[in-house]
């Protein structure tokens, strides 16, 4: 793929919003890949955590929003736990989720959930799921 870099994107409002909303500083990541190595769901992600951060560093927010990565992240913080620069990819994904959810876009429709799940699953799964996936 080819990307063009623009200062307005790299330092643009979307990026500033993501940093503010996550409390993370994108420049700190030096792309070592430890997060991608340790993330339990990175095998299924379109963009593993370090790559998602790379796109954000280059100002390409849409690339990351299109990917399934942020909806797969469970916030287990294994990335943060091993990051040598104490960056939390989980927090960054949360900020991206918030950007979407706060615009009223549900990732999962409640009516699509199977009844058996709602009956049997521990309440915390339902509450947590709603917090992260439903606006």
């Amino acid at each position: 793929m080819k990307i063009k870099l623009f200062k307005q994107e790299i330092e643009g409002s979307s990026i500033r919003q993501i940093e503010r909303s996550s409390g993370e500083v994108l420049k700190n990541c030096y792309q070592c890949g430890n997060c991608s190595g340790g993330c339990p769901v990175s095998y299924e992600m379109d963009l593993p955590p370090s790559q998602a951060i790379r796109f954000l560093q280059l100002g390409k927010v849409e690339e990351v929003k299109k990917a399934n990565s942020m909806w797969l992240c469970v916030g287990c913080q294994q990335c943060f736990s091993r990051c040598p620069k104490s960056v939390s990819a989980a927090n960054l994904f949360e900020a991206l989720r918030q950007m979407s959810l706060r615009q009223g876009k549900d990732h999962k429709e409640i009516r699509d959930l199977p009844v058996s799940f709602l009956e049997k699953a521990p309440q915390q799964a339902i509450v947590c799921g709603f917090r992260k996936l439903v606006s």
């Binding site: 340790g38 040598p84 620069k85």
Partner: protein, 657 residues
């Protein structure tokens, strides 16, 4: 009346761009005592210097002020020029109108820089008027050197000083000299056998008539000052008489007990009476007292029974020895961050996860496996080995923030050693960057990949665990954006280079500075890398920071050259900008003594003709005093003053503002 000459330097554009030097020079002509004033493009240049000397002679100047860059840059230059023109160099002062003026102003038209330059120059003129023509201080020099640490840096320094005709005392805390280099199998980029290039130097040091080696010894304390140090060395009890022992090794063979080998980094055991490795210098065994049943419980004593020359002495105790030296070279080296620090790699409990030095021992022909690469757990030859770089390094969160510099090179070397010995084996390397900046280093790392088939993956390793007899490595390859899993037989961690345990204690005993990682501080990292701020104490090797063998050897030689320069005269001249006590008024409160960071102030007893003590006063040791002025600030009675910066001078400068 003074006859002062004022020279304002333009420093090309550096000063002139924000300071109107011509105007400053004209302003200074009006100051009483100034008989000559000019401005010039580059005062430090040859024509500039010549102009200065001419002016001194022509106008019979008895004092010179040069307004230019920081005195750190050229004070010596200008003072030398004055001296050669017949003027006492301490009647030359510098006003810093660059770093402290022109560089922090922006707009010449606003004239703020020019006004400040006027002030600075005028203040310096007033101070200069009260400068006394000081003379350099001469102190005697003891031409023996102490080298602490018998690794490659220390050995090199000792050899160079000895070859320069001076005596050296080399103190090493292990039973043999050689340091970490003796553990290595081969060295990059030449792939020389490490011990083959090291042991000749070790033997040379042992046989040199001017080098005296103390092994199994540590420095307990250092007193004195440059040219006149007294060092206390603790010779730990070896329980072997060095004069009688012939190094036959019978005792070692017959000793029935073993302990973990420090030299083999825990991969093997050694006897309780031991030499660390076969080529040990000196070839005299020591007894590991805490593990010796004879010393602890009075049972055994086999070594003494089989010793022909009767050299074993269980009654031996530690001995404190005092030596007098004129200079000290600190070359205490490094160690590796322990494997136990890394939880995600098994906290040191997975047997087949080892560090770089341990791999060297496996590869070394005199090591625990005779040079065959075998897994520590079951002795099998590993079919695949994963090498992980940057373990603990470049890690602000859990390790050290710096790069350990040598790991990229030695890991490439390891992959090649492994491939040479296990032809069908596969080496994988997880890296973040490849740092191969030395001569022929880049080509060396490319050889590992292109000729020897090592697979290099760009990414860190998140965790390592055991599964089904294999060691599973889970990491990332960011270049292909994938999570990577490898089932390997062995994992080698390139753990961070750290300062030695006890580095801070030694530094405190010597009085030298160290940073937050307990690496020793150089005087100036770029231009004075082998000196410390403590006159007479020099540095060499990895105790300063991670570095490879060529750098350590260079530093050893460089430190030796500094020592030999110091020893080149019977006396050394020191800058006379030192403190002095007015002994008639000192009331011996010792505030100055306590305040002095260089321990340069002593208590002096004043006796009368009958030998009775009449009073005490403080005395400044001019050989150690660095002229910092803390004592002047601390003295409650204002009886201690700093030559060149006396209270009178300071007040005069302030009044001129």
């Amino acid at each position: 009346m003074a006859r002062i000459g004022v020279f304002i330097c333009q420093c090309g554009n550096n000063i002139e761009s924000t300071v109107d030097t011509k105007s400053v020079s004209e302003e200074m002509e009006k100051v009483p005592g100034v008989v000559f004033s000019c401005n010039y493009k580059f005062m430090c240049s040859s024509p500039g210097q010549e102009m200065l000397k001419e002016a001194i002679k022509k106008h019979k100047l008895d004092g010179v002020v040069v307004s230019a860059c920081s005195p750190h840059m050229h004070e010596k230059t200008f003072r030398k020029a004055c001296e050669s023109a017949g003027l006492n160099p301490y009647r030359c002062e510098i006003a810093n109108i660059r770093e402290q003026c022109s560089w922090v102003h922006h707009d010449k038209t606003k004239k703020t820089g020019t006004v400040k330059s006027n002030d600075l120059t005028r203040m310096t003129i007033e101070r200069l008027k009260r400068n006394r023509p000081l003379k350099k201080i001469n102190i005697p020099v003891n031409k023996r050197a102490l080298v602490i640490g018998g690794g490659i840096a220390g050995i090199q320094a000792a050899l160079d000083i000895a070859e320069g005709g001076r005596e050296v005392i080399l103190v090493e805390k292990e039973p043999s000299i050689g340091g970490n280099m003796a553990r290595l199998s081969e060295t990059f980029p030449t792939m020389d056998c490490s011990q083959c290039i090291l042991t000749p130097k070790m033997v040379e040091a042992e046989l040199h008539e001017r080098i005296k080696i103390y092994t199994y010894s540590e420095v307990e304390g250092l007193d004195g000052y440059i040219g006149n140090f007294t060092v206390r060395i603790r010779k730990k009890a070896k329980y072997v008489d060095e004069e009688l022992c012939t190094g036959c090794g019978e005792c070692i063979e017959k000793c029935p007990f073993k302990a973990s080998s420090e030299f083999e980094l825990g991969l093997n055991k050694r006897k309780v009476i031991y030499t660390p490795f076969p080529q040990a210098v000196p070839n005299i065994p020591v007894i590991d007292a805490p593990n010796c049943t004879m010393i602890q419980k009075g049972k055994c004593g086999v070594c003494a029974k089989v010793c022909g020359p009767k050299a074993i002495d269980f009654e031996q105790t530690d001995e404190i020895v005092e030596e007098k030296v004129g200079a000290v070279v600190v070359a205490t080296g490094y160690e590796l961050m322990p494997n136990e620090r890394f939880g995600e790699y098994g906290y040191g409990r997975i047997k087949d996860v080892i560090n770089g030095l341990q791999f060297e021992r496996l590869a070394s022909s005199s090591g625990p496996t005779g040079g065959e690469i075998r897994r520590p757990s079951d002795g099998k030859v590993p079919e695949s080995v994963v090498f992980i770089q940057c373990v603990g390094s470049r890690d602000e969160a859990k390790g050290v923030s710096y790069c350990s510099k040598i790991c990229c090179m030695y890991t490439a070397k390891h992959t090649m050693l492994y491939k040479h010995k296990v032809h069908e084996g596969q080496a994988y390397v997880f890296y973040m960057d490849i740092r191969a900046g030395g001569k022929r280093y880049e080509e060396f790392t490319r050889r590992a990949i292109e000729d020897e088939g090592a697979v290099y993956l760009r990414g860190r390793v998140s965790r390592v665990y055991e599964r089904g007899g294999k060691v599973v490595v889970q990491g990332a390859d960011t270049l292909s954006a994938s999570q990577v899993e490898i089932e390997a037989d062995m994992v080698v961690l390139a753990t961070a280079i750290v300062s030695r345990t006890g580095a801070d204690t030694l530094a405190q005993r010597l009085g030298i500075g160290y940073d937050r990682y307990r690496f020793y501080n150089e005087y100036h990292p770029k231009l004075r890398p082998v000196e410390t701020v403590n006159a007479g104490i020099y540095l060499a090797g990895a105790c300063v920071g991670p570095m490879d063998i060529p750098e350590s050897v260079s530093m050893g030689s460089a430190a030796a050259s500094k020592v030999l320069a110091l020893f080149s005269a019977d006396e050394m001249a020191r800058e006379p900008i030192v403190a002095g006590v007015d002994k008639t008024r000192c009331n011996a409160c010792w505030d100055c003594l306590v305040a002095c960071p260089y321990s340069a102030i002593e208590k002096e007893e004043v006796k009368n003709r009958q030998g009775e003590t009449v009073r005490w006063n403080a005395r400044v040791n001019e050989g150690v005093c660095q002229g910092c002025g803390v004592c002047v600030a601390a003295c409650r009675s204002k009886v201690i003053d700093l030559a060149g910066y006396t209270d009178e001078q300071v007040y005069a400068a302030i009044s001129a503002f």
